[in-house]
Symmetry: C2
């Protein structure tokens, strides 16, 4: 089993008859999926998503793949294929199109509609190429066949990519619900046919590779939702992902069956469900819909709100309700709240806070911890074994997962008989070449995080984040001194201010004298350049804070020449 | 069911024949347990623990209960009774003793030994009063009987507190393992006897009130640990809590059975296991112990390391191993790591990071997600029902839990027949009076967070934390100007510096002119006091940053008079 080493370096030029595969995101993490395929000097990009920041990336809005690897070769890109419409697969497209707006975007109907709505907000008019399962199209030297897969959003696709280097099956995100609500099954017969043809490399979704067994059908949620509707005392509030059309459909069906009116709350929920409804993916009788501004006209026991915020996002309507901070909606003990979604790793604390907040006001909270109101969108180990056994790949590369998931999936592949030397565990930036039927790691390219913060992309660096972490943990102390530009003597200040350091300004009286002494000594010893004066200030104040408070705030000397 | 309202205010004086109960921690949160009982002007404190900070309390080391409520009445305290030796029950004792060092501390043998070791580090010589199950002692007007309870640390106690106001049973933390490793069962016959006598108020551990069914016996972990020992390729590393004597004992037993030597790693693990061993709570053959400095002398397949870090604490040995940042221990694919502990809510992300880190280097990681290597220390709903039914309390107050747990436990009490009007859900600071057999909420007192940061206690305020959060998310921009003290004219600067704001210093060239103009205009309009000049700077720079970067760093004007 090959896996990357820290000493991996720039790869050799690609072999003429080979296929080069570089993931710029999605390997070693769940998010910002983006894979670049290269053959005969041309590029095919599969997915272009975002990663959501964690606490060690404070203040960051989004994390993008680093486009540096392809920045000089944007004109070589034949197309970007989007496997489905989730943010971690399409969210970075607007940023890639800023660099070359006319890259053809390929995807299914719903995927492109969700992408178009997003691009419209970015004021980009894209080149869209709609495809569907069963289609087969050429993009330069890449011959791509599209296969249906079932996932937690409709209209997802797997890709069979053929080049002279061989046949690659990339599953995209998928599961294998055998009774899907829309009847659209993961195309296992298609996978089997490709297996018979000979799959040189299988790239398969690893998210749930650690989870034994099989994912319960989405259909199983219906009766539970119905039961919650029947037992809700008054108002019902359902939070789920704004892209989970089938989940929302089940709530709508229950609303119809139980005579409740429905109100969509939140920008992304309103936008996505509008798109889904327009394209016929969502079936909503007009007469049950209520606009948020008309909420007061409906008695609470005839109402269901469908909103986002199921991950405890601090600014979401649901979080504001939980904190009794929402203008229209005041939670009471007659309310029932259903969190009909997964709990994405990293969001446990914020979801717990929402549940506690709602519970504090007496609401009944139904969530995946106490009822079957969620099933995963990703195939479990049992299902992944089916895929491995039906496709019999020559080489295997687990994708879409953290290290624990990639390793677990690699182990499953080995158990089904894929030879160890043909299993490639790569991480972001690792270069994998498929040549003469053998996949192997040949080097690595940069694939670091690119941060979006406000309007800037890539300007907030790891250094900024390190500063933020220090400032956020310890605060700062700033010391301003005015120095005579010729004599180097102190003529104004020191003025000392602290924020977030847990030191009140009066406390600094104790250090002013000592600091003046230190500066006088320094001037007497001929110290007069800013850098050296800064050092004197930093040392004197830093030591005093450390001795007296055992803390290490950022010490910021500012020397002003007068 | 009564529960606190935001408008709760200062309570009336306590009734002469009543018992007043005020939790200063532990209600509405899991941690810093501390309850003050008052009768006839005297106080009895039960537990005095710490809460560990979450991400919204950046830089904080510990959170204490606010002692303000009892600060003027320290001499009225008859004793502090510690139910068991966990940090969330004993951790704040050193800080309380700073205010009155001679408060008698009452607890079982192991509890007091762990507390004494902690107090020694704080250089405090306490007054210790050892008790054991079956004992009954008077502390002023409080007649306290001690009962054995089983928990995830040996020697835990429940308390039956008798005053003329009635009989209160406070369970402390407990579970009801029916086959405990030390044979020490939760004293259900004792609970039943008290029930027959007539319990006026039951205060019972709510941590697992949402979890249906029963907790598996600690004993069930033994065979799993043994299996991990037998299948470990080479080195074995076990992480668990430094207080979980029974869990460590099972690892030691497996080490003996499998011929491995044992090394304790980490200060708290070495200290606590030393105490437990000395007092006979832990059985360790001398000949299997290895000191950490002699690790190299033992072949990896004959070694087990027992360390802390099971919660992904960033500075722990385990986290450093996962990041390949540990001096002595370099993880390889021949290592097996077992996380034999719970995953405390809030630590999910850091534990996931540790698992991914270890997995990246190829280690096999056994954890509660893939093997039975942990059982909870707290009774589940099934067990809580037993306690409610056996004690038949006149009133019920759920303790030790977040809102979701308190509500769930209250519901269990109602289901067993406790009348709704006799169930009191309180949160920290809520004042509950038990008078004439009826418990009710009569007011509230301050019970906010007291932060320990470095050497300071209570000096870091919510304002400091708010500053830290802004600084941590957005960084800051500081603008220093030198102003002529008489004319108000700009004579030095503006000097602009940013940290963590994602703005490089050169970018500010664009704003310098505009800022100089604004300051000149202000001076021309007679603006010369610092406050107004600050406002001009803040407005000008803040708007520019917002327009150009759509960010809101802290803007810090510094005006130096020259």
């Amino acid at each position: 089993m090959s896996h990357p080493h820290p000493e991996l370096s720039t790869p050799p030029p690609p072999a003429a008859n080979g296929l080069r595969i570089v993931a710029l995101g999605g390997l070693g993490e769940i998010g910002r999926n983006m894979t670049v395929f290269e053959h005969a000097g041309r590029l095919l990009v599969v997915d272009c998503g975002v990663l959501f920041p964690e606490t060690e990336q404070p203040g960051i809005d989004l994390i993008l793949p680093d486009f540096e690897y392809i920045r000089d070769r944007l004109d070589d890109i034949e197309a970007v294929i989007l496997t489905h419409g989730h943010e971690d697969h399409i969210g970075a497209v607007p940023y890639l199109l800023r660099e070359r707006p006319d890259i053809p975007l390929v995807g299914s109907r719903l995927t492109l509609a969700l992408l178009a709505a997003k691009l419209q907000e970015h004021r980009i008019r894209p080149v869209l190429r709609e495809v569907k399962e069963g289609d087969r199209h050429g993009y330069g030297p890449f011959d791509v066949e599209f296969l249906a897969v079932n996932h937690s959003i409709p209209d997802a696709l797997a890709l069979a990519i053929r080049t002279p280097a061989g046949l690659v099956l990339a599953t995209g995100d998928f599961k294998m619900d055998q009774l899907p609500l829309d009847g659209r099954l993961t195309d296992l017969p298609g996978f089997a046919r490709l297996g018979a043809e000979g799959i040189d490399l299988l790239m398969s979704d690893s998210t749930n590779a650690e989870v034994p067994g099989f994912v319960t059908s989405e259909r199983a949620i219906g009766p539970v939702v119905d039961e919650v509707f029947r037992t809700a005392e008054e108002r019902l509030i359902v939070a789920c992902f704004a892209s989970h059309v089938h989940r929302v459909q089940q709530v709508l069906d229950a609303a119809v069956a139980n005579g409740r009116k429905v109100c969509f709350v939140g920008r992304s929920m309103v936008r996505n469900m509008g798109v889904a409804r327009e394209l016929g993916y969502l079936d909503v009788p007009d007469e049950i819909m209520v606009d948020v501004k008309d909420l007061d006209t409906v008695p609470p026991d005839e109402l269901v709100l469908i909103c986002t915020g199921s991950q405890g996002e601090p600014m979401s309507a649901l979080s504001r309700m939980a904190a009794r901070d929402h203008q229209q909606i005041r939670i009471t003990e007659r309310d029932t709240v259903m969190l009909a979604s997964s709990l994405i790793p990293g969001n446990e604390t914020s979801v717990n806070r929402v549940i506690n907040g709602l519970t504090r006001w007496g609401a009944r909270v139904v969530h995946k911890g106490n009822a079957l109101v969620h099933v995963s969108g990703h195939a479990s180990a049992g299902e992944l074994l089916y895929v491995l056994n039906m496709t019999k790949p020559g080489n295997f590369m687990p994708i879409h997962g953290e290290w624990r998931h990639l390793r677990a999936h690699a182990k499953l592949a080995a158990q089904t008989g894929v030879p160890e030397e043909n299993i490639v565990i790569a991480e972001d930036g690792v270069v994998v070449d498929l040549v003469d039927g053998q996949a192997k790691i040949v080097g690595a390219v940069p694939a670091g995080y690119v941060y979006v913060d406000g309007l800037s992309v890539g300007e907030v660096t790891e250094t900024s984040l390190k500063d933020r972490r220090i400032l956020g943990e310890e605060g700062f102390v700033s010391i301003v001194v005015g120095i005579d530009s010729t004599s180097g003597k102190l003529v104004a200040g020191p003025e000392i201010h602290a924020r977030g350091a847990g030191i009140v300004n009066e406390d600094f009286d104790a250090i002013i004298d000592r600091l003046e002494d230190a500066l006088r000594d320094a001037a007497a010893n001929g110290v007069n350049d800013h850098h050296q004066i800064n050092q004197v200030i930093r040392r004197t104040v830093g030591k005093w804070v450390s001795d007296n408070y055992r803390r290490r705030p950022m010490i910021i000397p500012v020397v002003v020449e007068v």
